[in-house]
Each structure stands twice: as C-alpha cells, then as structure tokens.
C-alpha cells in the first residue's frame, strides 16, 4: 500500500498536479538564508520541478552536507525525509541510502566548499559509481556559512574583476564531472528559473548521476574587501566581528535569456559574469568536445549553461552491482538467512 500526503488546505484557485497536490505541498519550512541569496532561487526551482513531475513528496530523499547551501533541503518538500550529514560527506550517505532503497528519488544539495574542498573525493567517487541521484551544487565561489573565505571554485565576483584565472586555477565542477565520468552534466544560474526547472526534471529522470552546477551568487560575501562598495572598506582593521555583521539588503538576481545567446549578469557587488546558453543544435554526447568547448569559453570568462553532456547508455550503480530489483530494505528476513541446515553445510568446510 502507499500513502499520499493530504494536500495542504490552500485556496482552491491554486494549480494542482496529477496527484491533486498544489505547489504548497512541495514547499518546506521558512528559509533562514540571507534575503536575496541565490540558494533560495534554486529552492524555488526545485519546488516547481518536483511539483510538475507530480511525484509524491515523501518518495524523495533529500541529502546535504554542511553550509548555507546544505541547509536548503529543509526549505523544500517538508514531507520528505532529509539527511543533513557532515561537511563534504553527503555522497557517501547517498550511496548507502541508495544501496538500501533504489526506489526513492535522491536529491543531494551541496556547495562548492562542501563538494570541491573537503568533499572532492566523495563527490568524484559518487560520479564514478554513477549513483542514481540528482546532485546540485549551489556554487557561489565562497564559504558562505563560515563568512566568505574563497572556495576552490572560481570566485565569481573577484575572478571576473581580477581575471587571475591562472593564479590558482579554480576547480570547475563541470570539468571534474566530465573527467570523472559523470553521465549527466549540466550548469545553470540560480536566477534562471526557466532553464533550471527543466534541468532539475531531466536530472531527476536521468538513470544515473546527474550533476547540476548552479552558479548562485552570495549576497553577503561576494561583498569582498576589494570591492569599493564593501562595508569592510569603510573601516580599518579594528573589530573582526564588525566586518561580516552587517548584511546589506539585497534583491534576487534574475537572468532570462535565449538558448544559444549570452547574457551579462551583474552581481551584488557590481562585478559581472557572462552566461552562455548552449544552442539548440548543441550535441551533448561527447565528453571531450564538451570539455574542449567549456574550457575554451571559461578562458574567455564565459560560463556555458544548459545540459552539457549526457550518456544514457551507461549502467548505474545498481546495474554494476548486480543488485536485485526489489529494494534491499524490503527483502523479508526469510530470504536473507540461509537457515540452520545450510549453516551445517557451510561449516562442514571447516572440519
């Protein structure tokens, strides 16, 4: 038997999906992130996508590491179980969860610090296993929750301004994904809901590891010392707490542009990045071509967005493991224990 969440009482006018659920039923608790944080835009896109897919919320499992980004699973699908693991180790938890029950939809939310610094190894090996999950990196180039240290990914704000791309080459999750054998590699921008929603849906439907890197500006800490608008700038070294204590009120950044086209987005601190959408005729089936194209554009400081690579033929984690179709956590004990007679047979070898 299966249970369905009772639709939340919400005024009748609200659109409903095939399950009779409204978008409200896919929402979670109130966000505690900074006003205007890109992560909240991604949360909204996730809610929209899952609502449109009309999958019962409790059939999702939400996992994350630690960071502002990793808090977001609390902000969508309140009736789905969530697992807020330790920093950088969500992929292993997702692997175990998936091993135990292959029938749920797994959404992993991580940050650039969570996945590219402390968690790089696990991130890479989850891709290598082609674990069946949607893996979203809310990429802001900084450690938000610990107040703005640079992360291993390009610092979007500063990089564009300084352009020191070769100083300490940023680790680009998309390039990593391509070289580690991810079977679904996409990139988008938090403010581009029109592009995000379909990518999320495609990722959830992909049978294997779907990497979705979402550039998601940090309102508060893209506001670096070297930005003339920076709050810190107005002070001389005096009281550490002060620097990051004030968060200027900021609105969300949105980007809406045509496929094939490019758009210049201005971030909270005035720095700019260029997003280029892959055009309709882009063929996302060659690892090396994707690598070449993205690398070339990065050199020109352009972030290619869209579905960049997909391989639907590869076998996923369970195929490779040869696991039975039925979820392991549902197998009755009787089918797992060889029983007393077999034990005697086994032990005969040890006489």
């Amino acid at each position: 038997m299966s249970f369905i969440a009772k639709p939340k009482v919400s005024h009748p006018g609200l659109p409903r999906n095939a399950l009779g659920l409204s978008r409200r039923d896919y929402e979670g608790s109130m966000s505690t992130l900074c006003a205007g944080c890109g992560h909240d835009s991604i949360t909204a896109a996730l809610v929209q996508a899952c609502f449109e897919l009309a999958i019962p919320p409790h059939r999702f499992a939400k996992l994350s590491g630690i960071g502002c980004s990793s808090k977001t699973p609390a902000y969508f699908m309140g009736t789905a179980h969530g697992f807020n693991s330790v920093h950088g180790r969500m992929p292993s938890v997702a692997t175990g969860a998936n091993a135990a029950n292959r029938d749920l939809y797994y959404i992993g939310i991580s940050g650039d610090g969570d996945s590219l610094s402390i968690g790089l190894g696990q991130f890479a090996h989850a891709m290598r296993r082609n674990l069946n999950m949607l893996y979203v990196i809310e990429n802001n180039g900084v450690y938000g929750l610990t107040k703005g240290q640079f992360s291993a990914s390009a610092d979007i704000g500063t990089k564009a301004k300084k352009g020191e791309i070769n100083d300490q080459p940023p680790i680009d999750p998309v390039l990593v994904g391509l070289s580690m054998g991810a079977t679904f590699v996409a990139r988008s921008f938090s403010g581009d809901k029109a592009q995000l929603v379909p990518l999320v849906k495609a990722g959830l439907k992909h049978r294997g590891f779907a990497l979705l890197d979402v550039l998601s500006p940090c309102v508060t800490f893209n506001d670096h010392e070297d930005s003339t608008k920076s709050y810190a700038f107005t002070r001389q070294f005096y009281h550490p707490a002060v620097h990051t204590d004030f968060v200027p009120p900021a609105g969300r950044i949105v980007a809406d542009y045509e496929s094939g086209g490019a758009t210049r987005v201005t971030l909270h601190d005035g720095s700019q990045i260029v997003l280029r959408k892959v055009s309709g005729d882009y063929e996302p089936t060659s690892r090396k071509d994707a690598f070449t194209f993205i690398q070339t554009k990065l050199k020109q400081r352009e972030y290619v967005t869209g579905l960049l690579y997909i391989d639907e033929a590869s076998r996923d984690f369970h195929d490779i493991s040869g696991t039975i179709e039925q979820p392991l956590n549902e197998l009755p004990y009787e089918t797992l224990s060889p029983g007393a007679k077999k034990l005697a047979e086994i032990l005969r070898r040890y006489r």
Partner: protein, 604 residues
C-alpha cells in the same frame, strides 16, 4: 629416560619461512591433519606487512589437554629461512628439534648441542622430482609436511583426504602433493628414528568442532543477521571479513530466478566514505556494516559522533592491530578500546562487544545488528588480528531457525497514519530510546536527520534547554544499553579472594594460566568482560575481590581505564597485566606477572 621425554599430543612446532613461497597451504595442511586426528590444535601465523620475500612464521600447537593459546616454547622448528636461521635455532627449547633444508650446508657456528638437528635435502629432493619452477618451490613446503608426518607419526590417510578436498577438481595436483609428502616421509623414515618421542596420536577431542578464523565467522554472522549492505576500504587485518561475506553472499544470496544479488557491497574510496555508506543505509532501513582496523576508526570518528547524536544504527568491526598510527599491521593488540568507547569529539560514548574467539565473532556479529537497531546507535565489535586471521578450534556454530532480528522501534506506515504527530527524538517509553521512521514510508514520518543541535521533535535548535533535553536522554539511553548487551563470563574458584578480569583474545591464555597458578596454590576467580557498557555482574565481581588483575593486550591499560571510569571500583585494586609486543598472549606471561607478585607478597 626415553619414556620421560615422551610428549604425545603436547608440542609446539614452528615453521620459519619466507613469505610468498606458498607455505601457508602446507602449514594449514599440517594443522588440519592434527585436527582431523582428533587432537586439539592451534595455528598462529606471524606474517610480515609485505607480499614476498620477508620472514614469516607459522606456529602450530597440539594440546591433548585442549589448551588453545599460543605457547612460547618451541619443541620442533622447521627452519626454511636462511635469513632467520640463527634466531630460529636459538628459539628451540633444550631437548627440542630443528629441521632444516640440508641441500645447502649450514655454518658450524650455527649448531647447538642441547637440541637435535635434522637435515633434510628438501630442495634437492623436489628439484629431482619436479619439473617446473613453481612446483619446485611449492612442493618443497609440502615435502616438509611429509617429513613431519613421519617424525610425528601423522595419519597419512587423513592427509590424503585433506588434499583430495582441497584440489577436488585437479587430480594431478593431488598426486603431486602426495608425491611430495611421500618424498619427505620416506627420507625421514630412512634417516631418522621415527616417530620422535614428541609425537601425535589419534584421539577424539575435536568432534563437533571446526577450525575457523574470526573474520570468516563474523562474516557468517552478518549473513545470518540479514545484513544487506557492506561498505569497506581494505585494511589488514580486517580485509578477509568482507572477502568472506562476499563469498558467502555469492553462494547464498543470489535470486533464484534472476541470479541478481540480495546484497550490495561497496568498496568505498576510504573509511570516511565506508562509514557514511553504512549510516546512509541504516537510516534507510537496511542492516549495514563496515569492517576496519585502527586507522579506519580514527578516520571514521567524525561520522561516528554523528551516528551517536543523530541516532542511526551502524555496525563497525574493528579488527585491532598493533598501534599507534600504522603501527604493525600484521601484529595483534587490543589497543583501540578507549578510542572506540569514546570515539569522536564532544560528549559521546559507544556500545562495544568483545568477542573472545570465532564462535563469539559469529554470535556477536548477529547481536551487534540487533543492538544497533534497538539502540539506534553505532555498535562496535572489537576483534583483533589473532582472532580474526588465525584459525581457531571452536564448537560448531548453531542456528535457531525461529530466530528473528530485532529491528527496534520503527513506526510502520499504518502506525504513522493513525498518529496525530510524530516526534523523532521524544522519550515516549522512558527508556531513553525514541521511535524512528524510515524514508519513503509515509509523509507523516518525515523528519530531518542532523548532527547539529535539535530538540525532541527533531527540529533544529540553538535553545539551551531543548538541546540539553536531548543530550540527557542520550545519557539515559546508554544506561539502558547496559542491560541489553551480553553479560560477562564468570568462572569462580572456591575460596578465591583475588581475581582476574580480562577481555577478548586473552581468554585462552588466561584460562590456561589459571590452571597453572592453581597448581601453584594461587587460586583466582575470573571474569571476562564481553561488552561495554558494563552491567551489574561486572560491578559485583569487582566489589567481591580485593585484588583484581586486569589482563589485556595494550600498553596503557585501556580496559582497566574503562573499568575505572565506568564502574565504582577503586582503581588501586586493579593491577594491570599488560602484554603489548604484538604477539598473541601466552599463559607463561600471565603466570610470571601474577605468581611473581604473590611470591613477593609472601616475601614481604
């Protein structure tokens, strides 16, 4: 005189060899032969942490009296390794024997008058008898088995039987091996007075027993416990546990129709991932485990604290090896007791099980999964290299088909449907154990697993009172655990006022020592701790004795420390007896440590 020297079914023979030469199979053939002859036997393998070319020793003790601990006195040395010849020669007890490969002469300096040295041209014999290089190397080892067969009067039909089982599908190998056996035996019969006074005689003391290593036994326990997810990163001496689990599952866990697997083994990228996988699977309702050793425990400790605080089931096998750090990966120790009991930062404590032999490895493996789910917390099974990788003789394991796993407090979808609201971390039953739910079952069961501060409803909190409430319940839960874990094994001697407390693989040596001491007039009670937290019986034993020798295999008296912290005992009554050189404990060591003290006692 001859009679006086006779030692039937009571000897220790030691084979000194170079690793990578295939000697292990010859040695187990030797040991198994004695076992099949009905003689209680033990085998200890001292191998190097490398793959080929370094010294390796195999010690076989036959004991009609059924002593299964290692003994430190060598009666017969088979010195196959030139590098260590001098040292091996020195180790033989006066009146003992040394067998060496006389294909090449030994320097006269390397002689002893107080032992009998028997040369056998093993290499020569095999080079003439066998063609290819591989066979020549391998058969040299089988040939010394033949020599010993003659010297010790081993039952050749038993040996043949073993070879036939081993090489079932390769008749020519059976023949080759028998030929090598005969080569050695014939040479011995021809040149030496066979059998020796030190020899074997068929008896009937191994019926109903098996020879098995603890890792294989633990793996079998995991299979019978219904574990479906195993995650690991290879590390000596735990590796063979997962190898065995895989082998058993491939044989007994395949779906009849599809041939697909009713288990999932993940070779993780490291131990941090391995424990993460186990926690993820446990959260999702599968029984999951990971085998590891010391370094793995250190790497897992962040996640272990998470499991404790988020209250997730997990089973961790720590097959202990000599620390600290990388230490001696192929030597044994009981040095992770404290590291496991309090693993991770912050206020944490964990349930530990201490198997003493492969049989308990099997039983405690099963128990560990029940406890992990009942208590919703990581449970450690602390084995060690000696138990895990050496073959031990123990009674055949039994299984009751009516036995069912205890999955603990898990709310069904139906139950949830009927509930007004679900509070993940509320102590509804007063035992400190809250009810949990599984993902995907029911919308009402949804909650957020987190290692950050949470209140009894499972919500995030930074509130002082809410945070404390959960921490205090966790302390209560741990007290509940004390009554659920396996109790100690107590052996009382009439009139004893002092006692021994020990743990795990020390057991055989302790029990042998108790006999020797009793014979010397030192009568002691004995308690073997089998789990942490300690239950009432442990406290009673400690209260009942003025002097308690705590026998364990580590430098820092870790069991003694745990007893000091977690019972009311006055630690001055706990006398540490510490063995930590990496070799298995033997009775003599204990006897020396304790008898010495009593003699001094008298002196004073």
């Amino acid at each position: 005189m001859q009679q006086a020297q006779d030692r039937v079914n009571d000897f220790c023979l030691k084979v000194a060899n170079v690793n990578g030469t295939g000697s292990a199979s010859a040695n187990s053939l030797l040991m198994k032969s004695l076992f099949r002859m009905g003689i209680p036997v033990t085998g200890k393998n001292y191998f190097p942490s490398n793959i080929q070319g370094l010294p390796t020793w195999y010690e076989i003790r036959a004991s009609g009296d059924g002593h299964l601990a290692r003994t430190a006195t060598v009666d017969i040395m088979i010195a196959m390794n030139v590098q260590t010849y001098a040292q091996d020669l020195a180790e033989v007890r006066p009146g003992g024997y040394l067998i060496y490969d006389s294909t090449w002469p030994r320097a006269d300096s390397l002689k002893r008058d107080d032992i009998t040295i028997l040369g056998v041209p093993l290499a020569k014999l095999c080079n003439t008898a066998f063609e290819n290089v591989r066979a020549r190397i391998l058969m040299k080892n089988v040939a010394y088995v033949g020599v010993l067969a003659a010297l010790l009067d081993l039952d050749l039909t038993v040996i043949r039987g073993l070879l036939e089982e081993t090489f079932a599908n390769k008749a020519h190998l059976v023949e080759a091996n028998l030929q090598a056996i005969e080569l050695g035996a014939a040479y011995a019969r021809e040149h030496f007075a066979c059998p020796l006074p030190v020899r074997a005689r068929t008896m009937d003391a191994t019926r109903g027993h098996i020879m098995i290593d603890g890792n294989t036994a633990a793996a079998l326990g995991c299979v019978y416990a219904g574990a479906t997810v195993g995650a690991w990163y290879p590390i000596t001496p735990s590796t063979s546990l997962m190898d065995a689990f895989k082998a058993f599952c491939q044989r007994y866990r395949l779906d009849e129709q599809t041939g697909r697997r009713k288990f999932c083994i993940v070779q993780a990228e490291d131990e941090l991932a391995a424990i993460g996988i186990v926690l993820g699977a446990g959260w999702n309702g599968a029984r999951a485990f990971t085998p590891t050793s010391g370094p793995g425990i250190s790497l897992m400790s962040e996640f272990i604290g998470f499991g404790y605080y988020a209250e997730l089931p997990a089973v961790i096998f720590d097959v202990q090896r000599a620390g600290p750090s990388t230490g001696m990966p192929t030597r044994t120790q009981q040095c992770d007791i404290l590291a496991c009991a309090y693993a991770s930062h912050g206020d944490t404590r964990h349930v530990l099980l201490f198997p003493a032999n492969p049989q308990e490895c099997f039983e405690f493996a099963v128990a560990a999964f029940d406890l992990a789910e009942r208590l919703q917390t990581p449970v450690f099974v602390l084995s060690d290299l000696d138990i895990g990788m050496n073959d031990w003789m123990c009674p055949e394991f039994a299984w009751d088909d009516s036995r069912r796993p205890d999955r603990g407090k898990v709310l069904s979808a139906e139950a949830l449907e009927g509930m007004p609201a679900f509070h993940r971390y509320r102590d509804v039953d007063g035992d400190g154990i809250a009810w949990r739910t599984l993902p995907g079952m029911h919308p009402k069961g949804a909650y957020f697993v987190r290692g950050s501060g949470h209140n009894q409803h499972g919500a995030y909190t930074e509130d002082a009172a809410e945070y404390r409430q959960v921490l205090d319940r966790l302390a209560r839960k741990f007290r509940t655990a004390a009554d659920l874990v396996p109790g100690p094994v107590v052996q009382s001697a009439p009139g004893a006022r002092a006692g021994i407390v020990s743990v795990g693989s020390c057991d055989e040596a302790v029990r042998e020592a108790l006999g020797v001491l009793a014979a010397r007039g030192v009568v002691l009670d004995y308690l073997r701790v089998r789990a942490f937290p300690f239950n009432g019986a442990v406290q009673e034993f400690l209260d009942a004795h003025d002097e308690i020798f705590v026998v364990e295999q580590n430098r820092d008296a870790q069991l003694r420390s745990l007893l000091t912290l977690e019972t009311n005992v006055d630690k001055r009554r706990l006398v540490p007896v510490l063995h930590y050189d990496g070799l298995p404990l033997h009775a003599d060591f204990i006897v020396q440590a304790i008898a010495g003290r009593f003699d001094r006692g008298k002196a004073a």
